[in-house]
């Protein structure tokens, strides 16, 4: 495979994209998880599915649009969905989580209609659902690179504000921080990263790449920065390991990446248990 990396452009694309996604998804995932918004990623990924399906349908029916990259439509739908979620959260102030199932089911409903209109599943769609080692184009790579730079800059420059907003939203608002605008920027970044990640992990598994590495690192980390660092590390191990396995065993990378992330999570939980056990034993021995 190392040789393959030098020879085949598609492998380079997949791995470079994988490296970027391995940073982005867990990086935003940390903020999503601590704010208890994990399901937003799920809702947005299903909206992205509708976008992909719409794009494939357009591609099929209009010759002029044959070269349309589904990534763009996916991004448009995902960002649109994120705006709707924010709107709905405002409408249902006391049932804010209600926005998520509404958007999620709308996304699937719309997606299924588009898929039926396009006469059902094809291999192309399958790769969007579960990821693919061979489907990433050079254009995709460039688009995802631009998204990565944007997201990383936003996180660096708004880190203080995002931290405060995540830790204590009320205090953030009371101290006069532009909480609404910052939250809005953040949600749009999440939507972009979800659309960008689907090439590698697939729509159905994007949210797990945002949450599983974070779930593992929260068990082990001291402090927020360490949580981010460990999450990105675990995400990167899952993505690269998953891509290798998927390539050699000819599997959909979404599955291998997520199963690696699950493995890391299980190890983290066990490791923490052992550490606590040891501490208790030492504490008991001292008495």
């Amino acid at each position: 495979m190392i040789q393959g990396l030098f020879h085949y452009e598609f492998l380079q694309n997949a791995f470079l994209t994988g490296i970027l996604i391995g940073i982005l998804a867990p990086l935003l995932g940390v903020f999503i998880v601590v704010r208890r918004l994990s399901l937003i990623a799920d809702a947005l990924s299903h909206v992205t599915l509708a976008g992909i399906a719409a794009s494939l349908l357009i591609e099929r029916n209009f010759q002029a649009m044959a070269g349309l990259n589904p990534l763009y439509m996916g991004m448009v739908f995902s960002v649109g969905g994120s705006l709707f979620i924010e709107k709905l959260r405002g409408v249902y102030k006391h049932y804010q989580e209600l926005a998520i199932p509404i958007i999620l089911s709308s996304g699937i409903g719309l997606g299924v209609i588009f898929i039926s209109l396009a006469n059902g599943f094809n291999t192309d769609l399958f790769s969007y659902l579960f990821g693919s080692v061979s489907a990433v184009s050079r254009t995709d790579l460039w688009v995802i690179l631009i998204i990565s730079i944007l997201v990383i800059l936003v996180i660096i420059f708004l880190y203080k504000e995002l931290f405060l907003l995540s830790f204590d939203e009320e205090h953030a608002k009371a101290s006069g921080i532009a909480a609404k605008s910052i939250h809005f920027i953040f949600i749009v970044m999440v939507a972009l990263v979800i659309a960008a990640s689907m090439r590698i992990v697939g729509i159905l598994l994007v949210s797990s790449l945002m949450t599983l590495p974070v779930a593992a690192s929260i068990r082990l980390a001291k402090g927020f920065k360490q949580t981010i660092f460990l999450s990105v590390l675990f995400g990167e191990i899952s993505v690269l390991g998953g891509l290798f396995t998927a390539y050699y065993l000819d599997l959909a990378p979404g599955g291998t990446i997520v199963m690696l992330a699950v493995l890391i999570l299980v190890l983290a939980i066990f490791f923490k248990k052992i550490m606590i056990h040891k501490q208790v034993n030492i504490g008991g021995g001292a008495k």
Binding site: K160, E170, A172, G176, S217, G223
Partner: protein, 257 residues
């Protein structure tokens, strides 16, 4: 010297319910005022008005001599809300990170945390006696320790006025005294004006210099030792329940000097 807060003829109502009626109050610089009153007495409303979170309906509030609607210098005011200790205790942040977040607004957008800020964070932690916990995750601390961390977060931007809403709620009974000791030190050694609100009259400590007794009307406002006299006679009217319970609390280290 100019008073920190002046309240003149303040009234406030939620639809038909009047919660504050004709409140007049002056809070001098470097004082330590406890506002006491039962639940629903308008204490929280008064705090929200002072913090500018509610709009004035009638009357006037001057903060540092400025009308509240024109007051801009909110850096001077630190606030520890009652909800501060109901945060997500699984949040993976160290005590240091939590206190540092108190500088967010002061630093402003697109600026970064530097060494000089870390020094301020350590000073604030020192002031509340929590410096040795700075690398612990916030969720691992006790309620009283967390409350101290939130006070440090408010202190880090170096306010002249610190407002605390029911600060002793999460503090164990045996630690209430040392908690007030810490607040007294902030008041005296750091010259911070303190304003705290509590429904629990029994926990008022001798570190408090002034007491205001509120229940829609301001029933008493004066120095702590005068309050004791007033209390024995009238507190039961304000609270509308048994005063003996309250004086019983007092014997364990209450108001008297």
């Amino acid at each position: 010297m100019q008073p920190i807060i002046e309240i003149k003829q303040l009234s406030y109502r939620y639809e038909k319910d009047t919660v504050l009626e004709n409140i007049n109050m002056t809070i001098p610089d470097s004082s330590f005022l406890a506002i006491v009153g039962p639940n629903g007495s308008g204490k929280s409303t008064l705090l929200k008005l002072i913090l500018g979170l509610l709009r004035l309906q009638s009357g006037e509030i001057l903060l540092f001599g400025k009308e509240i609607s024109k007051f801009k210098d909110w850096q001077q005011v630190g606030y520890v809300s009652q909800k501060a200790n109901s945060f997500n205790t699984g949040f993976p942040a160290t005590v240091f990170e939590v206190v540092a977040s108190g500088l967010t607004k002061k630093l402003g957008l697109f600026t970064f945390f530097k060494k000089e800020h870390a020094i301020k964070v350590n000073e604030a932690l020192d002031a509340v006696g929590m410096k040795r916990y700075c690398n612990r995750n916030i969720g691992e601390l006790s309620g009283g320790q967390q409350q101290r961390v939130f006070i440090a977060r408010a202190l880090v931007s170096e306010p002249r006025l610190l407002i605390l809403d029911e600060p002793t709620v999460g503090v164990d009974a045996e630690n209430v005294n040392s908690f007030y000791q810490m607040l007294g030190d902030l008041n005296i050694h750091r010259n911070i004006t303190l304003l705290l609100v509590t429904h629990d009259i029994g926990t008022i400590s001798d570190k408090v210099s002034h007491v205001a007794c509120l229940n829609k009307y301001l029933h008493f406002h004066g120095e702590t030792n005068e309050f004791e006299q007033f209390r024995n006679e009238d507190v039961s009217k304000v609270y509308g329940h048994d005063v003996h319970l309250l004086t019983h609390h007092h014997e364990h280290g209450g108001v008297g000097r």
